[in-house]
């Protein structure tokens, strides 16, 4: 009598395609997944709890280490929250610098995603191309902040360092370079039949499901929902610039791919305008009291990180340390749809779907 049984397969936490220490327990019937249970927490460092014993400036380096692929936007959300609570003004030059680094960061983050996603799908070269071009951005950041990954660049009320002489010109030169490279990327990957066959119609969900799960970023926009906080709730200086928010129609991995590629282009468009309007001189640090003691109360601010809506909720009792600090991490929220998407898919699609969600485990586990 032939008997078949389900195969219980442990994917991760040490697995090349889980993008860090993330684990999924899958039950396989042949190669088809019947159940998937994500297990997270391998990278949990208790950032939010640690923050309760640190003053606000000391928390900034911790935010670098949450979403380490997009440290600048994390810096910003914390500073922005404290500034909102205290009603601080940020000098224009500082705000411009913040915006430029955030958009550069979005490009860098999407490049990492692009490279690793293609690596997941089995193509090796795009990974190296993406990291080569990301290196130019990393060099710019290195020059600005002295660090390549965890920048600790922003401060409540401004930025730590002014741009060194000639830095803005380097950003200006980078934009056409990157635009040219994007065309190369498209000719290598975007029209590849194998690639399209792998990602079209994979991991589909509709707009209502996306909203129910609280998805944000490209994961939400791929279903056609036009929701980008830079447009819908403009923060920083985004209302001054022209850019489009790409949306999809099918809600599959291919739409998510196209949206992220288009977002790189739109970021470059914003950068182009920002570099032109960049004030030639000015303060980079606003008038900030020596001790940051936000008034007692609560604030929630949210911005658009490369991965979606990143929010910061501060509960202050009027002390130098927050009473409670909570980050709404887009990777964590976006990941929740994974078990639903995986049922009925093959082992290969598991990697495609997981990669398409674009998680950073440092942010999932925080």
């Amino acid at each position: 009598m032939i008997r078949t049984e389900e195969l219980l397969l442990n994917v991760g936490p040490q697995h090349p395609s889980t993008h860090g220490a993330f684990r999924i327990i899958v039950k396989l019937d042949g190669e088809v997944i019947t159940e998937a249970i994500p297990v997270m927490g391998y990278l949990h460092r208790g950032t939010e709890k640690l923050a309760e014993n640190l003053n606000y400036t000391q928390i900034i380096p911790y935010t670098d280490r949450m979403d380490y692929v997009s440290a600048m936007t994390n810096n910003y959300v914390l500073c922005h929250a404290v500034e909102t609570m205290m009603g601080l003004e940020v000098p224009e030059r500082a705000e411009f610098l913040r915006l430029i680094v955030m958009e550069l960061q979005r490009v860098a983050s999407h490049l990492v995603w692009w490279g690793t996603y293609l690596l997941d799908i089995g193509a090796m070269s795009p990974f190296l191309f993406a990291f080569r071009d990301r290196e130019s951005i990393i060099d710019l950041f290195n020059e600005l902040s002295g660090a390549r990954l965890t920048y600790n660049y922003m401060r409540v009320g401004g930025v730590k360092w002014d741009a060194p002489p000639g830095w803005i010109d380097k950003v200006r030169d980078f934009i056409p370079y990157m635009e040219k490279k994007l065309l190369e990327y498209d000719s290598l990957v975007s029209g590849n039949e194998i690639f399209l066959a792998r990602i079209k119609g994979v991991g589909v969900y509709d707009a209502q499901t996306a909203i129910d799960y609280g998805l944000s970023g490209a994961n939400l926009r791929c279903t056609g929902v036009d929701w980008d906080l830079r447009k819908t709730e403009p923060y920083s200086l985004y209302s001054r610039f022209e850019f489009d928010v790409p949306t999809g129609t099918n809600g599959d991995c291919y739409d998510r791919y196209l949206i992220r590629m288009e977002e790189i282009r739109q970021s470059l468009r914003i950068l182009k305008q920002a570099v032109e309007q960049f004030p030639s001189e000015g303060e980079t640090m606003g008038k900030v009291p020596r001790a940051l003691r936000p008034p007692a109360g609560e604030t929630y601010v949210r911005i658009e990180s490369p991965r979606g809506e990143i929010g910061c909720h501060i509960v202050s009792k009027g002390k130098a340390e927050p009473y409670r600090l909570k980050f709404r991490r887009p990777s964590f929220v976006n990941l929740q749809i994974l078990p639903k998407l995986l049922v009925g898919q093959t082992m290969t699609n598991l990697i495609t779907i997981l990669g398409g969600i674009d998680i950073v485990v440092g942010e999932v586990d925080c």
């Binding site: 397969l9 395609s17 190669e31 690596l119 799908i121 690639f195 990697i351």
Partner: protein, 338 residues
């Protein structure tokens, strides 16, 4: 060589066979060493890297160092593995890979044996390696390895069939299954007389099926590293792992040779007036082009999905290969009077 096979076996004969096999082994090992180096260099250049450049001049000894490392590594066998099969699998994978080289004619004179069923011999033996991969995946007692092994079996069934059928057209044109006769049938003229143009459909099917046979990108599903970590050889280490890698590259050698022989005119020059150049040079040139092509694919393509792979094999390649037989038969019936 073929004549000696017919003689009764004596000590002298056996010694000659043994020595020649050792020479061939040395050639193949040399090829594998530098094919790996070449692959890493080529892919490195395509990806704006330098590739290996530290060990020896221009990194030429990199592969030697790698092999040395693999030899010195601890050889682990998982406690719950099936020991006998686990040990047997790498050898079983390698032996057919080496044995198929016996029928490849490198030049008019240089070949081991001119078997009159050379094509069948090649195809039949190369199928055994897949068994070894399934065996290795099964014996490892690892779920990833098992999945890799199973994929390999599915892939073999789907692609061995079009591979064989794509060759049939060539065999029909030549009227022989001996690889040497097939090459001689293509000689004497310009390069458009080689089989790849008259058999263009067969050639295309053969190239795709051959890449799949080699388990190379974009058909490297059995060892798909981003899904199955390393697939069937995930539990292998040290020299047993090296044997799997070795047989993979020996198959590159074999397939490139076979493709040269079947479709690219073997040792024949591309134009009649170039026949003062020794045949082995032409063979080597064509061979290198094919090897480069295989490495080039690896730097370019993503991996196909397992169900798409099956669908493509059965629904596209197999009908094309069969169509090729019909077209060839019709062509021969109409144009070639016997």
């Amino acid at each position: 060589m073929g004549d000696r096979l017919l003689e009764p076996l004596s000590w002298g004969n056996a010694l000659i066979f043994f020595l020649l096999a050792v020479v061939m082994l040395a050639v193949v090992l040399g090829f594998v060493t530098y094919a790996i180096y070449f692959e890493r260099k080529v892919i490195g250049w395509m990806q704006f890297r330098k590739g290996p450049n530290r060990v020896g001049p221009l990194g030429l000894l990199q592969s030697v160092a790698d092999i040395g490392k693999l030899l010195l590594k601890e050889d682990t066998i998982p406690r719950k593995a099936d020991r006998v099969l686990f040990i047997l699998a790498p050898a079983l994978c390698y032996i057919p890979a080496f044995a198929v080289l016996a029928v490849i004619p490198y030049t008019n004179k240089l070949y081991f044996t001119d078997l009159n069923v050379g094509v069948l011999y090649y195809v039949a033996l190369s199928g055994i390696s897949t068994l070894a991969i399934v065996l290795g995946g099964w014996a490892s007692n690892n779920k990833y390895a098992l999945l890799g092994g199973m994929r390999s079996a599915a892939q073999m069934i789907s692609y061995e069939v079009p591979l064989v059928i794509s060759i049939v057209g060539t065999v029909m044109l030549t009227g022989s299954m001996s690889l040497r006769s097939i090459v001689e049938g293509q000689g004497g003229g310009w390069f458009w007389d080689w089989n790849f143009l008259p058999q263009i459909i067969g050639f295309a099917v053969f190239v795709i099926a051959a890449v799949s046979e080699l388990n190379r990108t974009p058909f490297d599903l059995p060892e798909a590293e981003s899904e199955l970590v390393a697939g069937y050889h995930v539990e292998y280490s040290g020299f047993r792992f090296a044997f799997f890698m070795l047989s993979e590259y020996v198959y590159v050698f074999a397939i490139a040779s076979l493709m040269t022989v079947l479709f690219l005119g073997g040792w024949h020059p591309p134009a009649p007036f170039l026949d003062f150049v020794p045949g082995i040079v032409w063979f080597a040139l064509k061979f290198i082009c094919i090897v480069f092509f295989l490495f080039w694919l690896r730097a370019t393509f993503p991996r196909v999905r397992v169900d798409q792979l099956m669908g493509f094999g059965w629904r596209v390649l197999l009908p094309l290969a069969i169509l090729n037989i019909f077209v060839t038969a019709a062509y021969m019936e109409i144009f070639i009077k016997r």
